[in-house]
Subunit: 415 residues, 4 copies
């Protein structure tokens, strides 16, 4: 086990840790620990909402979650010698849920998948599922099952949803400018088009006083992926992966968290992976001047690991960019195409006795693949969503006999 | 070898075949051959432009291609007993390029990948690459190399770009209505938002007289994927795949073509796979009433085959939904995110000596994967584009030494 | 399709071809065709017994087969510039069954798996199955089914059982010496310990007169694998593979055949793959002096292709080196361990209604894997035999319900 | 983390644990802990020699190891309700090295691979490598590197070498009978043909007095695999695997250990995996009467997990059953064939600058595959040994340039 450079007590909020983390991107969040190129080290993480959700059978906690506090990130980890223009080479050596025995924190033998209510967060299919839902997952080594999704068992591709380097002041200003412009197009939209800086709920690491103030006023929310990495939610970003992050500030200031036990491509339920706290082991190195050398200036590049679970049979659902409610034809809109593929999958699984919301939770958390199949065949984008058939304990393929309808229970709902 | 129910002489245009195919979707295109559920049969196909492009070093033929004639489809194949509401179960038993020895038709030992000019077709990166380009590929069994892309060799995932069932009159009318509405939003756009019915170039199979006339007036263009299947351009739709197509007319009227030796997810160069003529062997069956039974009403469902080439190492490029020219932030726009991932890949490969247009042609044709990674993290969609490193005959991974710049030639350009 | 340098008319015996092949290893078999390093070319092959077995429901033809004629090899192909001490680099570009429509020759849409009688050939489990049996397989593109093994379907890993370079006179003499010594230990054994040169049935290519005579007197039988390659029966030697063969004579004199549609590791039924005639496309090159450079002096080295079917779930049977009849404990005997693993598998499948001989035929032909798991744990070698569960159309895994016994027919038997 | 039912303090010998384990198979070893069908639980394990080997650069400890103490097993774990004739269904949920930070016990961040001296243990190639050697491996998450094998890095397929159920008194007597008969054939052989019961070094769990005495006198040594499972050394027996063990005594009495971070098929160096202590998490269940139901009476059956590392390119070495020293031709001897494949691999890697003993250590510990390719082609068995090329940090494939010879250091040797 490598040295723990950022530790977390899972019985406490991130705010109350010996060295607290942060929940905004800002160059002035003070370094929590320094590491050297070539070093291996461990970072411990809180689950992304900082423990607002419980191992129970009600979705009320999802409905009422305070999103201003999210995501709770561990770090920043400073890397000696890192300078703007370098590439930070990060290897994920290992990661997993909280090693300690059973407990109340997500990651202690269990995790959850949630669907946010449209009024508080929303999600990919929020127009179809406007209420809050939840499924609790139990961990069995590398596999997960859920009392809310009977008949399903799969091997998790554990990964962090979110890691990244700190933005420079200039880059941060650019983010705030462009996202503000987007939000201003429809400022009263629910859910909103974007999330501007927010004083409420900001945690600025060990900063205090005026530093903490301007971090809160300027700090970028952690929800989206951006140039620095951030909330990629790439499910294949698992053990054995190597990532090349652009460096924008001295010491790189590497932070992250939002560990997932498993996730489907797109994380369509928004809070959609199997969310957990846990640990992640890294090796870091630098490619000096690498951004220019390799033209990696806009986004990180990564190389996935070689230990994903081996599934060999899939049901693949197709969607094209036509609005199924209005029959409006959108122009090469992959988002709409993938939404339709997801809705087609939901309809399919309902024929077997799952509720729509169960199917939605399944697609967010299971190791499904989301592919952009055709993106040039005007006017229709075509996306495909691959569901491994081996995760069901019954034969889920279409046959001449028709589907076997059964009572498959229900997920956690609101009261 | 199963019985050939639709045969093609590769020295002749589809128009001049003993039984010609068609290039519009319409319920009244006459059945070319009947098969029974349970039957195995072969369909021969012309390359999608009907042989307008040659094995040469000029992209003039791409620039000047007549798109009104495309795609040239083989069929319709009628399936005995098929009725609206059924699912047509199609197994792809085998497919490959034209078995005959070397010749002038694409598929006779060679194929091509093209980038259309913005003025005549366009493509995914047409604003960045407005001219026409081409790469010729030589087939070596299941592998392909190109004199226009030295240092690259990969195993093709051969597949048909386009197969589908005939639409009913009602469904066809609905397509024409919604696509017309889209085109009308910006009628003078180049390239256009969509392609309405077009008398010029229509081939209506064995129909003539007034039937041929109204097929030409009403028939839907074959470019996009729609409810009936159509131009899916799903690269994993290869040997061993099973597809469940909705049936909209009696006998199902199954047609297709546009065979690809290989393609990357998205087929981003538009004419972007390795295009070829060839043969495809099918087994068909029916699930009576299957559309309702399984809720498969909107799009086909498929199960991919189990013989894709096994690649184990990838460079994965990330893109988010921010316009790189204007810094405009789009809202969860997966199309923009994937475009940025592609542009990031192009920039990377330019550092090794490829031209941008070579890199673009590579991404369209090689077995790259395009994934929707994050689709809910407002405001940024996040897409990833996986390039297998094994297809390069040099080490293409980032290291501290920097990339090895070399003269890697050029693709075919216009004169 | 590359140039055919060795062609075969499947309606005729190898003896009656325009350029006949050969069935003994000898340096003096005349070159049938020359190729250059860098060339791609096609070789057509007869099924290994030269068409002695038919597509019928009797195993009499297996029982009565004349083994003195086998294997019928295509070649030798001379490679310009090849000299003793070089490595011949052979890429398998493509291979498949006979392209022509249905016919009587194995490979024309069908193939067979046989179990030789103990009195005429024997096999791995000959003490348990002393009679002759046969299963006929129908090809469906890349998949095979058999009326003699209902409920089974799998994707073939097509490969040649046998290719190799000609031995030098010295190497040939050494083979004859050491194999004669083995046979002489138990000269009357049935089946024999080895097969010395045999005048009967020898085919010496285009040689005649005294050359044909001494080839017949000295020529090594083609059954085993030896230093020159030969009858490796390596099931992963499929499309995309590269092999490095030692060169022992000028021009290398590359020959082979014995194409298989599929085979299990070990080819335990002896005539155990799905046997067929067909074609194979090669690319060849030379590494001058490569035997010494790389220390590849004793046997070929190969690199498997990357397109094997993707199976993900297996039943793995274990065997150790204890004779199950006598309880004699053998010392680290992997052959006995693998035999026990095979017998354990046979017993298992009998519980589902297959006959023992059906199970035996299945293990010889399906893409099972045979592993040497422990080879040092005195006194017991431990081997494992992996059967993919996906090849059965029923759930073949052990559960608390017990196996589903059904009437699963029978293979072809003798009359 | 499931409940720990057998715990180990890694600073102490197995003899000195609160509840000690055992190192002989005997039905009278007392149950150390009971579990219920359906239960998940953790078992902690000592490295197999009980800590006789150190993290140093001398192989003296390998040379002088006391093998009478091995293997130190954790257990027996009793399973409620298990009776002779049942199948014990064991799922491996998770396993890994010792979670505690760096320490002296193998598994605490490091492990080792050893070659036993011929005079004390021997191994697969002991006639070629009669001395003792060792390589120390450092763990980096799921990957391992060694200062004794520079340029090598691979992903471990962690697995237990040895688990099994207790034999009945009758089965134990049968083992002793047949192994004694083998040893008696050549009683003075070094290394011996087998290992009979041995009073020295016996640890009988919590038994004492006369029970301990007769366990010592009768207890079967743990080296080989037998009907009860035992030292299978199956490298694919990793997380996600399910094993069906025959039950021979009430409560099944399930024991094991000998955890490996990685191993090659055959574990050819004998002490050949990367040996470590650690933990293993199980789920158990019963199939009542399953031995007869499924015909699983002779050896366990297992289903491998689906998370093995994905390697896609291999160098495959071939061996046949001819003694390379004497040119004696053995009859279908797979052990000899695999030995020759291993020796061929050793020769190959020596051309790149590795010493023979380094290459030998590599083949024992890296995720190589050992296949029985041809087992019926008289007189030569043919085995193949697959080495993934991705584990080398240089290009190890044969090319016309010849191998790159370099100083690659040396493993630990004796002084």
């Amino acid at each position: 086990m490598p040295e723990v450079v950022f530790s977390v007590d899972q019985t406490k909020s991130m705010r109350d840790q010996a060295v607290p983390g942060h929940n905004r991107w800002h160059p002035d969040v003070p370094v929590a620990a320094m590491v050297r190129p070539g070093q291996e080290f461990r970072v411990e993480c809180r689950e992304w909402t900082d423990g607002q959700l419980g191992n129970n059978d009600s979705a009320n906690d999802v409905r009422d979650v305070d999103l201003s506090r999210c995501h709770m990130l561990s770090g920043p980890i400073g890397v000696e010698g890192a300078q703007p223009g370098d590439l930070l080479v990060v290897d994920i050596l290992d990661l997993g849920p909280v090693p300690q025995e059973t407990g109340d924190a997500p990651g202690q033998g269990w995790g959850y998948t949630g669907v946010f209510a449209k009024a508080n967060g929303g999600g990919f299919l929020t127009d179809y599922f406007p209420d809050a839902y939840k499924a609790i997952w139990d961990f069995h080594g590398q596999q997960a099952t859920s009392r809310h999704l009977p008949g399903i068992r799969y091997t998790g591709i554990t990964h962090p949803g979110l890691f990244g380097t700190a933005p420079s002041a200039e880059l941060l200003a650019r983010w705030n400018r462009r996202e503000r412009a987007l939000v201003d197009r429809e400022p009263d939209r629910v859910p909103p088009l974007g999330l501007p800086p927010l004083l409420d709920g900001t945690l600025a690491g060990t900063a205090d006083g005026s530093t903490a103030d301007h971090i809160a006023r300027e700090g970028a929310r952690t929800v989206p992926a951006r140039e620095n990495g951030g909330n990629h939610d790439i499910k294949n970003f698992t053990r054995g992966s190597r990532v090349f992050y652009p460096v924008y500030v001295d010491d790189a200031k590497f932070s992250g968290g939002d560990l997932h036990f498993s996730q489907g491509d797109g994380e369509i339920t928004f809070c959609g992976a199997i969310e957990m706290g846990g640990y992640i082991d890294f090796h870091v190195d630098l490619i000096k001047g690498g951004m220019e050398k390799y033209g990696i200036t806009t986004n990180p590049v990564f190389m996935p690991g070689n230990v994903e679970p081996r599934y060999s049979e899939f049901l693949s659902f197709v969607g094209v960019s036509v609005d199924r409610e209005t029959d409006e034809n959108l122009y090469l809109d992959a988002t709409m195409a993938y939404r339709n593929a997801a809705l087609n999958a939901v309809e399919y699984f309902k024929k077997w006795g799952f509720t729509g919301e169960q199917a939605y939770l399944l697609l967010g958390s299971a190791p499904i693949e989301g592919r952009i199949s055709g993106i040039v065949d005007i006017p229709n984008a075509c996306c495909t969503l691959y569901v491994p058939t081996e995760i069901f304990d019954f034969d889920v393929r279409p046959t001449s006999e028709g589907p076997v309808m059964a009572d498959r229970g229900q997920c956690a709902v609101t009261s």
